[in-house]
Symmetry: C3
Subunit: 475 residues, 3 copies
Amino acid sequence: MTAKARPSLRHIVSINDLTNREIEIIFDVAQAYLDELPDPNLSYRIGRSTDIASKFILASLFYEPSTRTRLSFESAMLRLGGDIITSADPATSSAAKGESLADSVRVVSNYADVIVIRHPRDGAARLAAEYAAIPVINGGDGAHEHPTQTLCDLFTLKKKNKHLKNLKIAISGDLRGSRTIHSFVYALARFGAIIDPMAAPGMELPAHVHRRLKEEYRCELVSRTDESGAIDALYVTPDEPHQQSLFSGPEVDYGVIMRQKIDAVYVTRFQKERWADKNQEYPRIDAKFLKDSKYSHASVMHPLPRVGELDAAFDTDNRAMYFQQAAYGVPIRMALISLLLEIRKDRSLQKFEGGFDTPKLTLYEQPLATGIRCANKNCIVHEPMEAQYVRNKFQIVKNETNTDCRLRCFYCENDIDHFVVGSKKSQWFSDDPLTLLRPADQGVKDLVVFASAEDAAVAGYHPKHSTSSRSRASS
Amino acid sequence: MTAKARPSLRHIVSINDLTNREIEIIFDVAQAYLDELPDPNLSYRIGRSTDIASKFILASLFYEPSTRTRLSFESAMLRLGGDIITSADPATSSAAKGESLADSVRVVSNYADVIVIRHPRDGAARLAAEYAAIPVINGGDGAHEHPTQTLCDLFTLKKKNKHLKNLKIAISGDLRGSRTIHSFVYALARFGAIIDPMAAPGMELPAHVHRRLKEEYRCELVSRTDESGAIDALYVTPDEPHQQSLFSGPEVDYGVIMRQKIDAVYVTRFQKERWADKNQEYPRIDAKFLKDSKYSHASVMHPLPRVGELDAAFDTDNRAMYFQQAAYGVPIRMALISLLLEIRKDRSLQKFEGGFDTPKLTLYEQPLATGIRCANKNCIVHEPMEAQYVRNKFQIVKNETNTDCRLRCFYCENDIDHFVVGSKKSQWFSDDPLTLLRPADQGVKDLVVFASAEDAAVAGYHPKHSTSSRSRASS
Amino acid sequence: MTAKARPSLRHIVSINDLTNREIEIIFDVAQAYLDELPDPNLSYRIGRSTDIASKFILASLFYEPSTRTRLSFESAMLRLGGDIITSADPATSSAAKGESLADSVRVVSNYADVIVIRHPRDGAARLAAEYAAIPVINGGDGAHEHPTQTLCDLFTLKKKNKHLKNLKIAISGDLRGSRTIHSFVYALARFGAIIDPMAAPGMELPAHVHRRLKEEYRCELVSRTDESGAIDALYVTPDEPHQQSLFSGPEVDYGVIMRQKIDAVYVTRFQKERWADKNQEYPRIDAKFLKDSKYSHASVMHPLPRVGELDAAFDTDNRAMYFQQAAYGVPIRMALISLLLEIRKDRSLQKFEGGFDTPKLTLYEQPLATGIRCANKNCIVHEPMEAQYVRNKFQIVKNETNTDCRLRCFYCENDIDHFVVGSKKSQWFSDDPLTLLRPADQGVKDLVVFASAEDAAVAGYHPKHSTSSRSRASS
């Protein structure tokens, strides 16, 4: 009776594992739980009339500190009538003895019905999902993603604005290290938002996130000089980008955008644990900053915890929505758990497929010892304990014009742009990345990707024609 | 649906948050749970016939080690049919990322229905109660108080002696660092006990506790020389001091007191974590010590854990009551939780107001940057993470003759005797503490208290007449 | 209402606390839980139709890291409808304040109905059982035993082989430090297995385990030289040794044994935490090793976690049974808990006594300060925090021919062979160990055992005749 995956098994590792339609279904179910409350302004005994998760168990596997995410997931499961088992501290778990995550989730698949995982490594949740026989929910993996936080954020925005279309959202702080931001901007782009990035110096969105916004969600990065001469830039996204894969961008009316009020300012903490320089300059949001008339109706949001970047004196302002965001954690997670466990008779994630679909990308896969490895040193593939369990796995992503392609790490989703491609059969290699695209799907199996011509040569491969950039032009 | 406080919201931060009558009600409910047991000597499946806390959640927020308090609260909640969520280790909670307690309890107010908190800082539980939207129970805050331990202690005494009036109780060990002792002596005084303090050298009751016993509970500190010439001192309290605010002390019959047997010896652990010198001389209670005929019927009590100060060889003596005390933790906490959650239809803390009432004291309050700060360095107001959330708050306590007053920290309840008082409007200051008492309530808002004339001068205030002590005499 | 032990109180500290018949009963009950599953290959919602542990509480007291054991016990309790309270980290429990285990389990006996304990010290679980008023289950104590892992292991073997008789089992790795191995080999011997020890260099079975296999379970250690000239050794056990205390060994047919296929290879982790040299040579089991035809039908087992000694590439081989072992943790522990709590109306551990019975051995007992102490430095008796709670306790074990005897520590079960025996009454001592056997049971109380003649002399005892070895020969 080793846990065997159910046919309909779903994992929520990235916000992009959910379509827009599915996100709306989750919100409907969350709202249904809220509607049961005697006082809609009071979470007091939410779920008192339901017991649908009875005899189901949620396992919290937390390899990094958490209060909000873990306790709200556990509260949600209990409110549904279910039970919880918790490993909150890697120092007291078998990880302290050197156990791999892959082994741990396979074992825990026999003890529980759904796993929530938090881990310091980017991509750890995807690895867990590869090995688990029960649904895995990503409770935050390194600087990668935090999709359930984004569900709370979007729900907060929807409740406030009645809809999620064409909102104008400013995001402030550590846009690079904040996994919350990464899930959030993908979702915003998918719902057609205008995103105003206000990064701390050196903490801009990571290159791969930026590029994905542009290429997959068709965001246009619009620069402008404001009255004071400062240069500003906005991501402007079309409506429903996911339904318009050939969409070439609307005629952006800058004047309209300039006059729009900001719907929300989303503030994030300086993720000290992910940066070497802990004394970095960092923007502080307070009543003075928010006095600008463009923020007059802005929801002020924060995933929390905060450590000074958002003034506590602002808490009594009725634009402050961050405790509301945290409060929605329970109904949102109740909804997500019930849908993943398929215990709501009336609603299911399986029945509605519309909306955003992750593009089907060809997968390149090799044993860990072979060829190129993810360049992100914090990616789970670099964790020594997982060396026996991960492979070099990349999705092959082409650009819009089919003139170039890059590799996206299957786990952490960071990009690799420069590489050479070898053929096992013929033992040649080429620096033309499009080599990866030309063969049929099964053809990928013949190919080995190396980080450089030197690496390919060391492995005994020979250059096809030349290693100059001419080969790319000629393809 | 951010958690909004219910109108009848109560917190148990100090034993003085409960009246004597309310304590008796808690005991009645606890006894009712005990009466359900098939064998009154067996805790086996206490609560098997009740499910009244079903779908309620207790959150344990423990920032300091605990076994007894946390597990007995959790057991109590489960025995009532409720559920629990637990943060047992600050290193794995968002506190590790620098989150304030104030933010944490506001967030957790949305995930649970009642919070039990333990914290190394004095006064932390009061801060938590200020921000929580659900009942906060103090599970021990620094060297301040531990009121639910006192409820177990009093219940043990009541079960043994049938009543709580006029008991003679010896308290031994670290009377200064033990929060348990502080809650206990307040309660003993309020029930009219004679308290025999047997402090380890240098570990006497803190000055503010001593003074409170004398001034608020009308304890008379009676010194006497025993046959061997040693000087002894006892706190002798009148019956029901809370009902007799003008009570001036009975004619104490020393002879009677001398002849009384000790009803209980309460032993406490050396609170190593709160003292610099870890190798301090410390009294050890054992069978030999307890051979004295005055202890022949004494209950020997200890809040546990013990670390050598109470001989394990004494465990089989039928005066040993410490495991009994620990055992009562479950029914007592079941009672307290049911009453705070208002889920017992038959009993409520709200309906009975008689007994001890905390005196209504005027509150002095300023932003943290302004004026005098609590002198207790372990007070929660000195915790950097809370700097945005605490204020300088003091209750103004006058002496019996209305000739002097002092400041009591709203959080840790330590006293400040020496200060000067300034007026914002007129920019003068005076070293007459009674200045604080003279204005009407709203008048306090005009006043700023400084630790010294120097501080006041630095802040730009000028002495009223002179800074000599004459001003006090002339008032 | 201090917790009072029920008359039928049972603890599971060693696999030898259960008879063979009782083990079979546990398996029957575990199978009954499995039979309820809609899909026997799926643990999904095991126990959905039962609620028999409702309002019972399991306390996890873990003083050492664990994922599998703790979470599977907790899952089992929840699947039965019960509740859990957890102390997963000694750093956040009262142990951090210096509380003894003896005090902790007495206290927790009032908060729960059954305790699972894990501890780094050998014999800690026996100490806990001495003081607890509720059943204690050993979840692993130092290098001593891990009986519930053995139940999972045996159940896995039984499900695969339909029976447990005469199996041939290879055990690989750290046979010395692995508590799992110790419980396992006792059980194998009791069910008549042939054990093929494949120890890492210097990690052979401890001497006391080896001797116990030989003397108590009548295992014959058979050496042989294989074709390649290498020396091999096997433990060959008779059928049902426990029923044949006078059994002198069958005529072992080496030819038959040589031709037998291995039924299972049991791999164990290098218990780094129990060894000084962390870089020790260690056998690695992989597909290549298992290619040998004698392993062609062998189950490959591992208690997990693994850290490299068992190749992850082997996971897809259908001989790999280790995740199956882990999966059986839930039904096995559900069965054990239900039987210990006596909540299965149909089955009970109390009603079936047949099978293995621990031999009744005379107990020698003295205060900790008196005479010989356990020689195993990791034994719980050497834990300073327990100094007030443990005694020098040894079982007196004679050899088969009644010509010698040794002391077995009551807690960790390590042996002491060399000692001298003194008589309190006459103040003599003798180096003849049989002195311990000669007196009637009450006579043991007069005797004091010392580690050496020097120690006896220091204590004021005088040699009886001489301290030479002649005295033993003359007895």
